[in-house]
Symmetry: C2
Subunit: 195 residues, 2 copies
């Protein structure tokens, strides 16, 4: 492994992530990264290559953390529909509060059209969310919480679309009841009770 680096890569990456997340890719300068990480410009280049490579490493780290949250949906403890509702309400609450939103969506909006490596991370993140929602809907159907005629795949996709919508609309500083009402009505509309 050679001699240890003079800085902790995990800590540096986490700090770089925070800057990119808050400012986006273009608006982040190398100087911002030097200041946030406490690592000199040349050492950053030696370790990560360039700003784009460091951004991509940070985005992958963020996406993998988000992925762990979403995977919890596939093995719901308790009512699947309750787990879904709590997850969506928590998303609505965070989206309206944190002021910086989801880094994957920022990446999609800022870079997907021109950056295939970023596009791959973003698309995988959407696919993971779709799979997790599909698994949750299957659980809810098996538990008799939703109408068996609900089509799993398109409804899972509608939930992902809604999730992205909540996270972007949330940035416009709606009052919390605005987003909560959306979650409540969307879930009961997309996942009706058995008749």
């Amino acid at each position: 492994m050679g001699r240890p680096k003079e800085f902790d890569c995990e800590v540096v990456l986490e700090r770089a992530l925070a800057v990119f997340w808050a400012k986006g890719y273009e608006a982040t300068s190398i100087q911002d990264l030097v200041e946030a990480t406490g690592v000199q410009r040349q050492s950053l280049y030696d370790t990560y290559g360039d700003k784009h490579a460091l951004y991509l490493a940070a985005l992958r780290r963020y996406a993998s953390q988000a992925s762990r949250q979403v995977e919890k949906l596939t093995q719901p403890a308790g009512s699947p529909l309750g787990v879904l509702r709590d997850f969506m309400l928590a998303t609505a609450k965070d989206a309206g509060c944190d002021g910086i939103g989801c880094m994957v969506i920022s990446a999609a909006v800022e870079l997907v059209a021109s950056d295939t490596a970023v596009g791959a991370v973003v698309r995988e993140s959407v696919d993971e969310a779709e799979r997790a929602f599909a698994a949750l809907i299957e659980h809810a159907r098996a538990a008799g919480e939703v109408d068996r005629r609900v089509e799993v795949k398109p409804v899972a996709r509608a939930l992902v679309t809604l999730l992205w919508g909540l996270r972007t609309i949330g940035r416009t500083q709606r009052d919390p009841s605005w987003l909560q009402g959306v979650v409540k009505h969307a879930i009961s509309g997309l996942l009706p009770s058995p008749t």
Copy 2:
């Protein structure tokens, strides 16, 4: 009115809009704007103030064009539900194709947290869409196309959220049937037929 300017302000603004729309605020340099508009740097400054003021003028122009599209929903010619479905399907189609998405959403993602003037334009755009969807749902209820128990305001908000979701997910280059399936299931779920 003084003597005429040496360039057509409308044309210049439209060209600046195209650059900001495609690249975002931060990634657009004054040099990009000089090249796109064919107007010298100093003349741009003299006319618009600075890059931020020019961006804001371009964003307001875009928002007002988008607003005219959305207002058509408030006086639907033909079936209100059909008009809604066509509008959402067209959004899904455009979102998956144009590769640069909606400029208002880009502004929300890139700037809302730090820019109150941009925030005001973005929020007004969301409010307009909400009012237009609410009017359309009222028409659909009056026409007997949807269950009278549908609550207008939260469902209008859910449709706006879905619209923003379609426009952001669309950037990840889903195949068209992905987004179309979302529209179909979301509309029939949120706006059920009378029972």
